[in-house]
């Protein structure tokens, strides 16, 4: 069985460490905040200018002046700070964020990522994604392993315009946890009930399959 969005978020959350400053992109990455283990705390950075993003507000406390980078209304946690977008990207570009989680259209064996533009469709813009992947040492990409048409998103070479070059080392798909090493995807874990063969079939880029590929474990 391929992972649900919630399971994907849950698996990413296993990579968190106590005291991590984390930037979560739109979509599945946002859900990671719901699965922070009880015995640790992370602070969420939102690139519009907020460190210490909290949960959504109630109807009573909603405030148009308090949003995240996805333009959703949010709250702050205790110990939060708010600053300009220049300061926010100083944090990001300067490598101060411990972990960035974001979605993608494609990732390739050289750690390239394409996530912002599909030519022939309209160009909406890259927002902060290019800055985020350039500034982070530690990035997890979350996406489905293949498109709805069954085409692999784990490629030898990204076909779309890049968001970042040589910056991705970890990918979580609905089928597998993979790490990128020496020009290949290395299959580290598979989703419960998903066979290695299925993953091989749906991976276009070079894939290294160790002798033993454990199933993911969810608490």
């Amino acid at each position: 069985m391929s992972l649900t969005r919630e399971q994907m978020a849950q698996r990413v959350a296993q990579e968190l460490q106590d005291g991590f400053y984390v930037n979560l992109g739109i979509g599945i990455p946002t859900l990671v905040a719901n699965y922070v283990p009880d015995n640790m705390e992370v602070m969420l950075q939102s690139e519009n200018g907020l460190l210490g993003m909290g949960e959504f507000p109630t109807e009573d406390t909603i405030d148009a002046d308090m949003i995240n980078a996805g333009k959703q209304t949010v709250t702050t946690v205790k110990g939060a700070s708010i600053f300009s977008s220049a300061e926010s990207f100083a944090m990001i570009r300067g490598g101060h964020v411990d972990l960035t989680v974001l979605g993608a259209f494609e990732v390739d064996v050289n750690g390239n990522i394409a996530s912002w533009m599909i030519p022939s469709k309209l160009i909406k813009g890259m927002g902060g994604a290019m800055d985020l992947v350039a500034g982070a040492e530690n990035i997890i990409v979350t996406m489905t392993h293949a498109s709805k048409d069954g085409e692999s998103k784990l490629l030898s070479n990204c076909s779309l315009p890049l968001t970042g070059k040589g910056c991705i080392k970890k990918v979580l798909t609905d089928l597998a946890w993979l790490e990128i090493e020496d020009g290949a995807f290395v299959l580290k874990e598979r989703a419960p009930g998903v066979s290695v063969e299925d993953i091989i079939e749906k991976t276009q880029g070079k894939l290294i399959v160790p002798d033993h590929v454990p199933e993911m474990v969810f608490a």
Binding site: S46, E47, N48, G49, L50, E55, F56, P57, T58, E59, I62, D63, A64, D65, M66, I67, N68, A69, G70, K71, Q72, T73, V74, I82, F83, S84, S85, A86, S88, F89, I92, R93, L122, I123, K124, G125, M126, G127, G128, A129, M130, D131, A134, G135, P161, L162, K165
Partner: protein, 234 residues
């Protein structure tokens, strides 16, 4: 005190001097902290052929989006412009030009413009795919793009509170690009929700010192919410 009194009586006065073909830097992120009444005044005024530097271009019918209705905008410099059908139409028609700029670079270009730093190297050089033949420099084994600062003929800014000297504070994440745009306008206009007495703002809490501000105008704001997300009842 007259010399430091930046308060003007009307939005018309606030935007005096804006002419066709000028470049405007606008604060705001999405619809949060946008100078909504100053934008409305530009629409009323009918100024055309504008270059607008702003992270986003509002939505259909609100924010900078309303300047598209009468085709007042020639070019947008933005990081993300995906919330606007009219924008898409004019872009495809060739009626509108867009210069996409990564969000962090855009923020830093405004800061550099205000700070008298003509150029800096925020991004690695492969980003060049986006850009017309910019120069690159190598540092620490990586190639970087040399990016140039942006200044505006006008900067339009949304503050929370200001005093008559033009000292401004912003509310919550409505800060975003506002203090950056404020530094980089030849004429910087700030619209605010409240004008307080000089001395009321703590010197250590002021986000935009009055030295950057030319005009302050008092307004009322719709503050439309782009994505209303609330906690489910527990």
């Amino acid at each position: 005190m007259a010399g430091f009194d930046k308060v003007v009586a009307s939005y018309e006065e606030a935007m005096t001097g804006l002419e066709d073909g000028m470049t405007i830097l606008a604060g705001g992120f999405g619809l949060c902290g946008i100078p909504e009444n100053l934008i409305a005044e530009i629409k009323r005024k009918g100024t055309r052929d504008l270059t607008i530097v702003s992270n986003n271009c509002g939505v259909d019918g609100f924010g900078l989006g309303i300047l598209l209705e009468d085709k007042q905008v020639r070019k947008m410099v933005s990081s993300y412009v995906g919330e606007n059908a009219l924008f898409e139409k004019q872009l495809l028609n060739g009626e509108l030009e867009v210069e996409l700029t990564p969000q962090g670079t855009l923020a830093e270009k405004m800061r550099a413009g205000g700070a008298g730093i003509p150029a800096f190297t925020p991004q690695q050089a492969w980003v060049r795919q986006l850009q017309k033949a910019k120069e690159t420099k190598e540092f620490h084994g990586r190639e970087y793009l040399l990016e140039e600062a942006i200044v505006g003929d006008f900067a339009i800014v949304k503050g929370w509170k200001a005093d008559r000297y033009g000292n401004v504070i912003y509310r919550h994440t409505a800060q975003n690009f506002n203090p950056l745009a404020a530094t980089a306008g030849k004429i910087t206009v700030v619209e605010v929700e409240e004008i307080v007495e000089v001395g009321e703002l703590d010197p250590a809490h002021i986000h935009t010192p009055g030295i950057y501000v030319n005009r302050v105008v008092l307004g009322t704001f719709e503050k439309r919410i782009e994505k209303r997300t609330v906690k489910s009842a527990e």
